[in-house]
Point group: D3
Chain length 249, copies 6
Amino acid sequence: MLLHQSTWIEISQFLDRSRTVVIPIGSNEQHGPTGLLGTDWMCPEIIAHHAQKDADILVGPTFNIGMAQHHLGFPGTISLRPSTFIAAIGDWTRSLAAHGFEKILFLNGHGGNIATIEAAFSELYAEASFARRPAGFALKLCNWWDLEGVGELARAQFPTGHGTHATPSEIAITQWAYPDLIKTADYSPQIASSGPIREAQDFRARHPDGRMGSDPALATPEKGAELVVLAAKGLVSAVEAFSREAMPN
Amino acid sequence: MLLHQSTWIEISQFLDRSRTVVIPIGSNEQHGPTGLLGTDWMCPEIIAHHAQKDADILVGPTFNIGMAQHHLGFPGTISLRPSTFIAAIGDWTRSLAAHGFEKILFLNGHGGNIATIEAAFSELYAEASFARRPAGFALKLCNWWDLEGVGELARAQFPTGHGTHATPSEIAITQWAYPDLIKTADYSPQIASSGPIREAQDFRARHPDGRMGSDPALATPEKGAELVVLAAKGLVSAVEAFSREAMPN
Amino acid sequence: MLLHQSTWIEISQFLDRSRTVVIPIGSNEQHGPTGLLGTDWMCPEIIAHHAQKDADILVGPTFNIGMAQHHLGFPGTISLRPSTFIAAIGDWTRSLAAHGFEKILFLNGHGGNIATIEAAFSELYAEASFARRPAGFALKLCNWWDLEGVGELARAQFPTGHGTHATPSEIAITQWAYPDLIKTADYSPQIASSGPIREAQDFRARHPDGRMGSDPALATPEKGAELVVLAAKGLVSAVEAFSREAMPN
Amino acid sequence: MLLHQSTWIEISQFLDRSRTVVIPIGSNEQHGPTGLLGTDWMCPEIIAHHAQKDADILVGPTFNIGMAQHHLGFPGTISLRPSTFIAAIGDWTRSLAAHGFEKILFLNGHGGNIATIEAAFSELYAEASFARRPAGFALKLCNWWDLEGVGELARAQFPTGHGTHATPSEIAITQWAYPDLIKTADYSPQIASSGPIREAQDFRARHPDGRMGSDPALATPEKGAELVVLAAKGLVSAVEAFSREAMPN
Amino acid sequence: MLLHQSTWIEISQFLDRSRTVVIPIGSNEQHGPTGLLGTDWMCPEIIAHHAQKDADILVGPTFNIGMAQHHLGFPGTISLRPSTFIAAIGDWTRSLAAHGFEKILFLNGHGGNIATIEAAFSELYAEASFARRPAGFALKLCNWWDLEGVGELARAQFPTGHGTHATPSEIAITQWAYPDLIKTADYSPQIASSGPIREAQDFRARHPDGRMGSDPALATPEKGAELVVLAAKGLVSAVEAFSREAMPN
Amino acid sequence: MLLHQSTWIEISQFLDRSRTVVIPIGSNEQHGPTGLLGTDWMCPEIIAHHAQKDADILVGPTFNIGMAQHHLGFPGTISLRPSTFIAAIGDWTRSLAAHGFEKILFLNGHGGNIATIEAAFSELYAEASFARRPAGFALKLCNWWDLEGVGELARAQFPTGHGTHATPSEIAITQWAYPDLIKTADYSPQIASSGPIREAQDFRARHPDGRMGSDPALATPEKGAELVVLAAKGLVSAVEAFSREAMPN
């Protein structure tokens, strides 16, 4: 069930049977010469939308801009600074909690988001902690590549050249979902280099075509299909486990 | 051309021929008993995506959460507070401007966004004004219903019962784009009442089913098609006119 | 009754008979070669102070600096950025609400303030909306030129050359109130040009003497007197209507 | 010369002969049973307006709301929180500095403002200090009672019962300027008690009628006249001395 | 008793017998050619740690970075801007108040901190004042040089050359506590000049070696010992007096 | 070399031979029935102070309050909210960078700090990234337990009962440094339970004595000595490697 394709009355009814909602969250940033700028928000959206087809889970609109300051040297990247990101995650969460959602699972598609999302969770919990009261909600961050079995599958699919940015696994997922958008290039080197992440100008100097440690040529729509199916199954399990957790008194 | 379905290299090439980008912006909020929660961000997205099929304009990812505090009394509404919204529009704009975009047109789908978007523009311009330098970019807010001819068409289509929230025109657009999601209800009264907009609890007391002055039963996918076609044409014209404007020295 | 010319005991007594207060709000910004820098805060102050002479309404101190970033290219302009303006309107409102004022009417004298004042209202209401409680106060923005009959009078007085900045109507009001400060100039062109509003440097390039679409030479103190009398009457009516509105439960 | 009663062209001409501007700054807060709520912003305004009649100094609009959180227990008090106050002083200063003002003298009328105004100055200077560049402006805080000779005069006028809030000296000044607004009451005790300043509820419990250590019955318009004349003279001297200070390279 | 050298259970037990805590607060900033960068946070730490050896008072961790923007022209200075400092003091206070501490005494070692600490107190109290409720805590700022008898002692020890920055009294205290760190230099002039405090670059131009009005050569560890002993005694008295104050209802 | 025990002239001289500085950073929070509240800031301080005795590295003052909102249910815990923490890390970094430090290594002692410190780094880098310029500094986060060989040693020392909060390794370090402060208790259960981290009230319900998965009884000063020696050596290596890294052009 997609929240934005529902009416408020349908959401009201959903709340009678579940207090859990999934928010796909990612980033819009360069993904090398062939990866789509939207890769990091499309992947969790693809997985979550696929998952809700066969399971009674609720998926909200996609939070499509994240923390990508280091990619701003490449055209098309859009980034929030962490303070803005924290404020926005805060308002999304307060909105959902105001309706009675008690378990909010952010399905994340961008490694660069993790620190700030966790900081945002702490910022939200701190309101309750300073006031010595329960928060009224629990927050969970799940990276799609950490869903049950998904990391193992990706490592089996791409024993070398997976890397950490513009990876063949994420590109494979977008290839499966958007086969008309498959793009190719001659990569040089075939597997990109790695390095520390600092400001955008430094990043572009270290990674001239935007990739980090990856060989996107390894991606295929078929591998993407395998990843989506497994991740969707993992997401449903994660939602169920999270929903079963007791809330504090 | 959709920015998020492009690579950074393609955006780099686009920048060689144009410095203008369109950002669909809306809100995720209750739209009465039959309107989709995503109506206000789907409408500008539908129009902008339609427009870019036949014209060389660039459409960015959709800014899907806006200022909808007054709708928070209805489940499924997600709102940013104005201060958060201003910060986020700021970071989107600074990101795009960093790539060389000089004209950023926000195609808006939610009346409640207008004041805060304009305040966000002023916040951005003020950085330049206090520093006595050019901003380097120009910002434009276009509500889809204000695109050339669209308001006239909507008034002709819906001479009564259009109202101001959960209007038949916006619902018609989503019906055309998502015919599987058409929902019906018995409206009582057939045309909803109007009133001032204050906090959420006050709003829900005044507007028990969420509508303001509208009769959504008047919506049809055919009327939606007419609106989308005209609005898409108007958008392309607006982009062209905006692109032609000279930037200050 | 002027709040700042009263004691706290007198305000306490006023609260026993009314819960409404008027705040004149404007801007301190260039008004062309002959308009006073304070025009936009003086006009609502003049009108509100006049209105309270014959009616039992309470008028607070004037909020004299608003959102005027686009005028910063002209000496003497003082502007808040929107985020500061929102914070300040918030604290004014929270202060007044803490005393039991339930209806706060901002009588505005500057078009450039409108978006940010409305955003400020939403920011204040959002506190209540996120918390699912009543706000405890209602906020109203009235531009003096929108008070009953005032716009019609101004159009009758100035059928051409009214424009949108440094208008003869606002200058006429200050001429009536401060006849010693009437200033003259040769305007070239007689009616100034119009255009979009962006950062200060762009504004000054488009509007070299500061006017937008106006011919201030049309102003006379007599026309100002007519405007003030009518606006003051309209303000009293607006206060009475606002005061009669029921607060939500 | 009053900035808000001038045109931008006149300010431009003033800048050719001086780079100094005076901003009266105060607070709108309870002043005991007989003091006006506006006392603390009226006093510096009265003094500064008087001073500019006979000297070529420029006086800006009055910053009329300051830090008065401890007085919020008394109706009519309006307070900014320090963070808002700092932001607003910042924008006033940045606006004036953008026009070329290099010396900005805040003539203060409220003891409770001092700490936050000084913090605001540090916030502004810090922008330059972190960036290792000159600020381009110098800021000075002058309390009117610290102007040359004024404290001595007040102590001579009111050897007992001066106190620290709702003092006879500040009330005398408003009595001189607004003789129609002189109010009387039976004070009990004649001289109010003193104590620490904390939150508003604590303040009102300690100071039931709002005064701190003062006997306002000692005020007379004649004493007010003496204070204004001396303070105005002191202000002109302070402006001249400040104007003569060299700016750093 | 040192909070950070205790367990939470010991603090819980302390709260059964007292609701007062002391926070040493200072700054890390240049102190002339021979003063330690940590002087301003070491002094209150030295005094408070000494005081708690013989008295049942609780001393928290040292808040070691304050408002020192004007010293940023000298290597090693670390400064918070006032807005950051206010936020941090706020979170420290809210944490301690959440545990039931009702009296929080900040023992300050840096004159440049005073304004911002007081602004921070007002920011905290304002939360309660706007909400018309008690704060639940009282805050006190004590500069170590203002503790009973300390100023008199310092004036007796250093009748000339005390000055206001890199003073012989503060340097003497660090000499007593850290005799291995005593440093010497030829001062020129022997007593440094004074002047206004503005941005860092201006400060360094006025005070080339960092001192303000002081002759640090006058410091000796013996004088430091006298100051510490007296200040520690004064601190214990101040804590006792503060603890005895009744909290508002 | 300790920054706060140096003069500005000594730091100026240090900058001639190195551009790297180490900042110990931690948290002041409950550490179970026997761990010191200061454990998490004392450990990196102990290690860094030990390291600088035999190596020419510069160690700044300790940043002693971090992100510990989940521990606020236990007396003595002091926490910044993430937004405050980010602002403060920002000002520390900007101060150090203003002096020419190009490599700032935060030696961290608290797992709960990691996300917010990384978010703070991104916030700082983003200033440069949005402005399309180099940052001028590189930031590195090192947890002391991740220094070379330290994790392995801790696992060898404590094959069971290490856990994640109030661990025997961190307690051992404080026991070595502060042998007079060794405290004991009967733990029940001997090894504490684990669980998710949410708001403070939830945390205390899950972890009644504050420990997470640990048996602090395993700590000894001797094991602490081993850890400190190895970590200090690892820190010096990390500083050297970081210092050798080229800065971007």
